[in-house]
Amino acid sequence: MNGMSRRPLSWIPPAAAGALLLSLWYGVKRLFLIPSFVLPAPDEIIAAGWHERHTLLASVLVTGRGALLGFLAAVGVGFLLSFVMALSQPLKRSFYPYILMLQMTPVIILAPIFVLWLGQGLPAIVAVTFMICFFPVVANTTMGFISVDRNLRELFVMCRASRWQEIVHLRVPGAMPYFLTGMKIAATLAPIGAITGDFLAGSQQNGVAGIGFMTIVYFSQLKIPALFATGLVACLLGFIFVGGVNLLHWLVLRRWHDSMTGRDS
């Protein structure tokens, strides 16, 4: 069991490190007389964020929506595709190289193509997020479906289980830890994907735009503290995503999986 988080006073080391980093920040800024349009002080960032709170909240919702839709699409399609590839070795051998190819193609290149096909805005952002999240889900889940203990498979043979029964009762539950690991990686990438998509393919509608687009706006207006605040907000969005998947991981695996039962095995 990870005892660190259970110990009372465990917040002290990270708090101390945070205080150290903050004083370094202020110290460097004061010592080298760095102006706020190059490096704003933390309190200026907070203040700018508060001042821009309505815009930022709206942009987080826009980006969050794109990230969530792209993430869910990647998880759903990724799971199904892995499932199909686990069913058939020839199918896997045939398609896996192309999935890999898709992953190797930089999103920066794909984004304008998506804009061409889907137009500026949400659909293109979702597509970019999907592209970024898809591969870790497929790679991990496929691995989960194929790494089934040989003895367990023989147990099913002995019980004269059908192929379908083997999948439902053995392969799918056995693949869950891998699937959730893929989802965790995808969850860290989803906000980044949506912000990137937003940056490359976003637009402002009724004065509302996503985080990626707002960075362009703030930069062009030289609202540098607000630009930094945008980063802070993006970071919070990432934590929300990872927290959500961690919760799911806990709900699904807490009863039986080694990662949750406190066993080292």
Partner: protein, 262 residues
Amino acid sequence: MLAGAPMVSLRSSSLVRLDRVGKSFGNGPPVLAGIDLAAAAGDFVAFLGPSGCGKSTLLRLIAGLTPATAGEIEVAGRPPEQARGESFLVFQDPNLLPWRRVAANVELPLELRGEARAGRRERVRQMLDLVGLHDAADRFPWQLSGGMRMRVSIARALSVAPRLLLLDEPFGALDEITRDRLNEDLLAIRQHDPFTAFFVTHSVAEAVFLSNRIVVLAPNPGRIAAEIPVPFPYPRLPELREAPSYLAVLADVAKALRAVLP
């Protein structure tokens, strides 16, 4: 009637019959060669031999998990792959599904057979009572000791009431006290629920305590070197372990085993 009926050979009074059975993997040397063996219903046959003599392979052939490359095997008058419902192999490792609770693990073979839920539940309850684990029904495998996990594995195998139970060193990973206890319990279960057993082990004492026949295997290729009857009637009590007649058989078997060691 006679013309259309499947051939029932006269020899099929034996539940298991092996006729010049051999096994090799790929182009490698044979792992097993010329195995002749017949076991009647109710036999408890122990297989003893040094590592690498093909004991586990022999069980896997009989379980129909891998085909023999020579000779012929019959279980309940059928080839082993078709007799899978009649036989069940208990692995060295308890081999439980970690995401299923104890009761659901025991239920698995019945579920895969498509049996009705109510009947399944009742059978699971009986099996857990039989192996002394009714209090652990709702636990997960990781919450059990090694001995308890093995009991679950045995309960799961017995849930389908196989006529032939194949056990591949089931207690090999357990300490001696737990192992003795499980040996006694296995015999007690068999009093209640008679099955024919093939039991692979490295332990001479375990083989003598459990079986009525001990088959000693020699390696390279795996073959039957000796067969020793164990004359003690069932039910057997733990005190048998101190009886001079038991110790005499133990010595005989140890001697036979020493003869096949390189």
